[in-house]
Symmetry: C3
Subunit: 152 residues, 3 copies
């Protein structure tokens, strides 16, 4: 039978999995709200972003400088599905996700739909989980001219 | 080290988070099955629904009277993504979600696609979680004439 | 107040729910990666698949023989939403899910979009959860001629 200390470790792992899911969900909420500061706060100071095709940022300052221009003023949704979170130590974890995006970019006057896979790494600093590395590879990508989609 | 009573509280919080997710998932399952009684049972007696644009119901009787007509006989899916559930006491909780809808309304002969954010409140009564308040704000909304989509 | 043995059972149930979600998420990841061996490994030896319209396989050998031809070389995403996992014993569980698919089939030169409900059964063998039965009923189904969608 489990002793109390062992059981506490298992409960902490379940809590960490839930916290990391909520971290990623918060990231998507801020992204689709165009709340750029909220997006930046999800990342660790030494975070690396590597998204197909060709979007790469290294460190929080680089993310801060680039996140708004790179992501543009989209109207639509970024969805993170199928979280496979693995706790690798008390302060590190990995995560796989499937991405689905449906949005409109006013600057390009185009609609986009895409699917992809995330391979993430997370780190817990001062009791708070953040994204340390996020790599996204595309499954498919569609783009088309379209009438404007309005933000409600 | 945690004592048993403290650990039990943490386990109960994880169980509550899971129960609340399943409550919302059951709501969507009944909604997309057109099982209106199942939808109504997800709400507390004093529940308030406030969905953009302009859908408002106060109390279970009001929901009972309006839910079928308001939601119409849709064919399609309502998806709830990115649950951020916070347990605020042993009998209350809040939740943020991202909504995505793709469906056809036979009465209007139109297709719809929309994205939105939920801000929910939940209450536990006699051991069962229910939705007490559900507010949905739209991110975007599309509607188009289309050929009928058939329920399988 | 809970005793340690009772609390350990509750923690194990939460761990099982998380494991079963990750099993299904792994299934979708392998499916959308066209990793057929990975798909097959998600099923128990005596697994039964029953998907509308008319896709039926009985036993792992039957799945092995049919999975690649039946599912075809799709490009796109299969999404499993709204998991309602219920642990029915230490080695059995059930699950309800909502399915959403958006993909292109090169062989047919057609695009597909569909929604459905899963009713699953899971079994734990030698410490590992697998899918023993998966039944999927359609909500709606759309198919259209389209230009090729390319795998990235």
């Amino acid at each position: 039978m489990a002793n109390l200390a062992e059981l506490e470790m298992r409960v902490a792992a379940l809590e960490d999995i839930e916290s990391i899911k909520q971290l990623k969900y918060r990231y998507f909420r801020h992204l689709d709200s165009l709340n750029w500061q909220g997006v930046i706060d999800c990342f660790a100071d030494d975070a690396v972003i590597d998204y197909e095709p060709g979007i790469r940022m290294e460190g929080k300052e680089d993310i801060r400088k680039h996140v708004k221009d790179k992501l543009l003023e989209h109207i639509g949704v970024h969805q993170g599905h199928h979280p496979e979170i693995e706790i690798t130590s008390q302060t590190t974890a990995t995560g796989k996700w499937e991405l689905f995006v449906y949005h409109y970019l006013p600057v390009m006057k185009k609609g986009f739909r895409l699917g992809g896979f995330y391979d993430d790494e997370y780190v817990k600093t001062r009791g708070k989980w953040q994204i340390r590395k996020s790599r996204m590879t595309l499954i498919f990508f569609e783009m088309w001219d379209r009438e404007p989609l309005k933000r409600m």
